[in-house]
Symmetry: C2
Subunit: 270 residues, 2 copies
């Protein structure tokens, strides 16, 4: 039987940091069954916090907190000391070091990371841009984009575009199909802004079969035929070569990994 | 003069957890100027790690690591002990507690969080869904969606849809305009799946003016007129009432905050 560990994530804001950490760390224990359903965002009330901690103790949970208020942090600390509850305070160690280094005291105000500032507007604009210029919908986008993603069908162009847009990069993407001529505009894009995605044919076949399956279609179509996939990839590689594109192999990479590698590439040029 | 603190984020994978933490914690020190440009993803080589640590020490930086390998963690620990470098290891404390609680040793393999599993496919499908059914493009989407977002122009429907899609929720959104009749399909959507966004008129005005500005248009159009905005909001509230929609005030909320509140609402019904 799998060992089961409930994880309590308590935050006075959204609690995204805890969730990221817990997902990353939990992946290191594939035989442990973590229960990630105990999320307590926007926890600001002391009594509410105490009651969550009591439940966590009963459940023998691991507690991860992102609390910016000293009061709340102290409650967790006192409770843990009294009861032996195991917890990790992600925020306080960082804040203590900065406080000590700079002499500046932290605000202790929850949710201040999110403001209606230029960064927010740029992010919204980039997301709207990526939606508008997804899938080669409008060739005008290539000339306005910070980045143009090329790839054959099912190389994660759309999710990658959205992920990068969330980081305020304006992305246009274009599916490559051997039978469809390239839009002229693409040739006017500086080559450092073009990223061509490639993927191992066998992995691509698996992804396309899953796609067909989810659409309720037969899995033995030309779309998932390994020779057709190789033909498409050959064509794509020719295009990347012609355009001088930066080529990225997305095989077995997550959206986050691919996006990080693309950002590293862009940093070298922008 | 603002105090300046360089932050080194070192990860053997993407390093998203560090970035989330650092952004959240840095917001607590508005008078400190954090330099977040020192990101070192995919750090797996011992010599490379040592050289990054030496640079961090020279820069008098705060170091945040997310390393799953004991070897690399030990190198950071030894270095810090020898030199006094201040660092936070986000991963190891969590992994130690789980190890101790379950007796299961962590894999220590970087990047295992990201797999080509059903979760990945569902996420890609949800993102593609959100792009396809953004902005009321196709009324069919309302009936297939897990969630329908309604709101007047500039209430963050698109970024919210994409954020939720990234969490595998299929979202369709529809802009509400008093002069445009509602699509019939919306009336067939169960009310628990409908979320209506509202916003304070003055804040909306500011957002719309910024939008006009970014489009290079005059800021005094009807679009940013406070009376027009109030008229649109009145109409929207009438629609929410008629449909029995869950109403969410997005004023001064970040995408993350609004999305978290929507997920809490959905959790109560799904």
């Amino acid at each position: 039987m799998k060992k089961s560990v409930p994880l309590y994530m308590i935050s006075d804001s959204v609690g995204e940091t805890s969730l990221k950490l817990v997902n990353a760390a939990a992946a290191q224990f594939p035989t442990v069954d973590f229960d990630l359903s105990y999320r307590f965002p926007f926890t600001k009330d002391e009594e509410e916090l105490k009651s969550i901690l009591s439940d966590a103790l009963k459940d023998s949970a691991v507690v991860v907190t992102t609390l910016v208020s000293d009061n709340l942090t102290q409650i967790v600390e006192d409770f843990a000391e009294r009861t032996g509850l195991q917890y990790i305070n992600l925020m306080s160690q960082f804040m203590d070091i900065v406080h000590q280094k700079t002499g500046v005291a932290p605000l202790q105000q929850a949710g201040v990371v999110h403001k209606l500032n230029q960064e927010y507007f740029d992010r919204v604009a980039a997301i709207e841009f990526a939606v508008k210029y997804d899938d080669g919908k409008d060739a005008k986008g290539f000339l306005e984009a910070d980045l143009v993603l090329l790839g054959i069908s099912r190389t994660s162009k759309t999710p990658l575009s959205m992920y990068l847009a969330n980081n305020r990069i304006k992305v246009a993407n274009l599916p490559l199909i051997p039978e469809v001529p390239l839009p002229e505009q693409i040739k006017a894009v500086p080559k450092d802004k073009i990223v061509g995605l490639v993927i191992e044919p066998e992995v691509q076949k698996k992804i396309r079969m899953s796609r067909l399956n989810s659409l309720g279609l037969a899995e033995n179509s030309r779309y998932s035929d390994i020779n057709r996939i190789k033909e498409e990839l050959d064509y794509a590689l020719g295009v990347y070569d012609e355009l001088g594109a930066f080529t990225l192999d997305v095989t077995n990479k997550s959206i986050e990994e691919s996006a990080t590698l693309i950002c590293e590439h862009l940093d070298n040029f922008l």
